[in-house]
């Protein structure tokens, strides 16, 4: 009989897992407490990472770049064909350049150094004082549409996608989840959903959901503030050529440019407010990259919480990659339940592949992952 997997979380990770598992033949139901992409995923800045931001760790950078290439291949309609620039503004940036170029090469990311005039011709709004510029294969996207594409693809394989359905508890019997208790917000009714396996893909909320089963997940919700301007000031992504830091990027998508971001750690991702000084810092740092920022109005400020991996003890979980982790709750006494945390929007397909491998092994599915070679369904087919 076809096994029923319940995926909790309608962000990009949950969507990609629902797609992967349904493509392999599992019966999948995805539960999301709000609308699709209403948590962290929808609120990202929309950068398809080239990996260059992470060159300090060559493996992570390479992983990122390969996923960037895969996503463009399976869903070219989702991404702006723009690329990005890493720009040195001061001496400290300039000192970072040789290290950066060397590491990009090690990671296999194709980059190209541009002279100052060429960089300013491509992007006239960059700081004219720039000292160096490197062209990288970044991209931009509308996060919601990427998530919807994964879900549209999952639906083609029979997945049942249920936004506005919040998990409120679990029925656990003899060391396994028998059913998930769900509150359907569109009818205000509670119901039970039987499951053979349950995946907790709720990112920054992973610990809150795991607690409903008496478990814990070492996730550290780490919010970042973003500032959207009321105009688009460039085509290619503007990155500060230096180590990752606050306000080191401006991303352009559709009619907007977004300056990002900061980072701190909170207990509860449902109780995050925007520190005013973070907004001021974004505008200051953004102005260093592109002086025109000082003349523009702020359209919106927003904050979203990354699901950073805290201390994963060898006895409670295993690290699949340096950038994300799968927590097997069988080790805590609930055999058919796992959580996935960490990762980046860009690597969601890969995370889903690893998570689906993990689940497939446990529910007896032998089909391999095919998501890297199958074109994604367009997002608009989610609605039809």
């Amino acid at each position: 009989m076809t096994k029923h997997v319940v995926v909790i979380g309608g962000g990009v990770t949950g969507a990609a897992i629902a797609y992967d598992l349904s493509q392999r033949g599992a019966r999948v139901t995805l539960l999301e407490r709000g609308s699709i992409g209403s948590g962290t995923s929808g609120r990202t800045h929309g950068l398809l990472h080239s990996g260059c931001r992470y060159v300090a760790d060559v493996d992570v950078a390479r992983e990122c770049y390969l996923e960037n290439v895969t996503l463009r291949k399976i869903a070219p309609f989702l991404f702006e064909k723009n690329g990005g620039l890493f720009v040195a503004i001061d001496e400290s940036d300039l000192k970072y350049k040789d290290f950066f170029l060397k590491k990009c090469e090690e990671a296999g990311i194709p980059v190209k150094e541009l002279d100052r005039n060429e960089a300013l011709r491509l992007e006239p709004n960059l700081n004219p004082e720039l000292k160096a510029a490197v062209l990288v294969p970044d991209g931009t996207f509308d996060p919601l549409k990427v998530i919807l594409s994964f879900l549209a693809s999952a639906k083609l394989h029979g997945a049942d996608i249920r936004p506005f359905n919040e998990v409120v508890g679990f029925r656990i019997e003899s060391g396994a989840i028998k059913a998930v208790r769900v509150l359907d917000k569109t009818s205000e009714r509670e119901y039970e959903l039987e499951a053979d396996y349950v995946v907790n893909a709720t990112g920054a909320w992973a610990n809150k959901v795991a607690r409903l089963a008496g478990l814990s997940v070492p996730v550290k919700p780490s919010p970042g503030v973003m500032v959207a301007l009321n105009a688009r000031i460039g085509h290619r992504v503007f990155n500060r050529l230096n180590k990752p830091g606050d306000g080191d990027i401006i991303i352009h998508q559709r009619g907007t440019s977004v300056i990002g971001t900061t980072s701190w750690v909170v207990e509860d991702p449902d109780k995050v407010t925007i520190p005013r000084e973070h907004v001021e810092l974004m505008l200051k740092r953004g102005t260093e990259l592109a002086p025109i920022v000082a003349k523009l109005k702020v359209k919106a400020t927003y904050v979203s919480s990354r699901p950073l991996v805290g201390a994963v003890q060898a006895s409670t979980g295993r690290e699949i990659s340096r950038s994300f982790a799968i927590i097997d709750h069988a080790r805590d006494g609930v055999e058919n339940f796992a959580s996935i945390i960490g990762g980046k929007f860009t690597t969601a397909r890969l995370m889903a592949e690893k998570m689906a491998d993990f689940v497939a092994e446990r529910i007896g599915i032998t089909q391999p992952c095919r998501t890297a070679d199958t074109p994604l369904a367009p997002y608009w087919s989610y609605f039809t």
Binding site: K81, N82, L122, L144, T186, Y302, T384
Partner: protein, 219 residues
């Protein structure tokens, strides 16, 4: 500042919607969306509404705010409240899923019909391809008197997208029909309400003119 937010609520088993009032404390600079999210987290757990990007880029949070279609994420509560009151209702012209969430399939189903690309070429000192500026929020459908009364109308944004993304200078035949550009009565509410200046109505008039003068062909 204290605000009274009144939301039109509807659940699938209710016979009719009802208006529910919430007292909230918020800075006038806070977006209506952040206020709604706060209500859902602190006062009304089952409140259904759509949102994703929170900065006017994804089109999810279109709703009617004190009678006018707007994106809740880029609308400051202090700018739209009247005597401290803000009334929130779902977009018109779409089927309500629950509360403020609507089903936008009547718009998205036409994407298959007209097969638009989602990119446009930007020609300037350099050539790049960017996503079309249309946010696909559905606000133009809600504001349009035709879309609200004629179910078969392709609709403002999709007509404009089919033209702007056309790579061969042709538009699908349905655009040159009474379900396409010829259904428009020129009220231009779509232009007035579009949150990103995509101006579907302007493109609709341009398509009409080009069709009349034989400058635009259909496939």
């Amino acid at each position: 500042m204290k605000y009274r937010v009144i939301i039109r609520k509807y659940k699938t088993e209710w016979r009719e919607p009802k208006y529910v009032s919430y007292e909230v404390e918020a800075d006038p600079d806070t977006s209506v969306l952040d206020v709604v999210e706060k209500i859902s987290l602190e006062k009304d757990r089952t409140l259904a509404f759509e949102h994703a990007c929170h900065h006017g880029a994804c089109g999810a949070c279109g709703m009617i705010i004190n009678g006018v279609e707007r994106l809740a994420c880029i609308t400051k509560i202090g700018e739209v409240a009247r005597n401290g009151i803000v009334v929130l209702e779902p977009l018109r012209g779409f089927k309500v899923i629950s509360d403020l969430a609507v089903n936008k399939s009547r718009m998205f189903k036409h994407y298959a019909l007209v097969k638009p690309g989602t990119h446009e070429k930007v020609v300037g000192t350099v050539e790049v391809e960017k996503l079309l500026d249309c946010l696909e929020c559905g606000i133009c459908y809600s504001a349009c008197p035709i879309a609200n009364t004629f179910e078969g109308y392709v609709g403002p944004s999709v007509i404009a997208m089919s033209y702007k993304s056309s790579s061969n200078g042709k538009v699908p035949a349905i655009i040159d029909s009474r379900r396409g550009v010829w259904a428009c009565h020129g009220s231009f509410e779509c232009i007035a309400r579009c949150p990103v200046d995509f101006k579907p109505g302007e493109t609709i008039m341009k398509i009409r003119k080009e069709l009349l003068f034989g400058k635009l062909q259909v496939v």
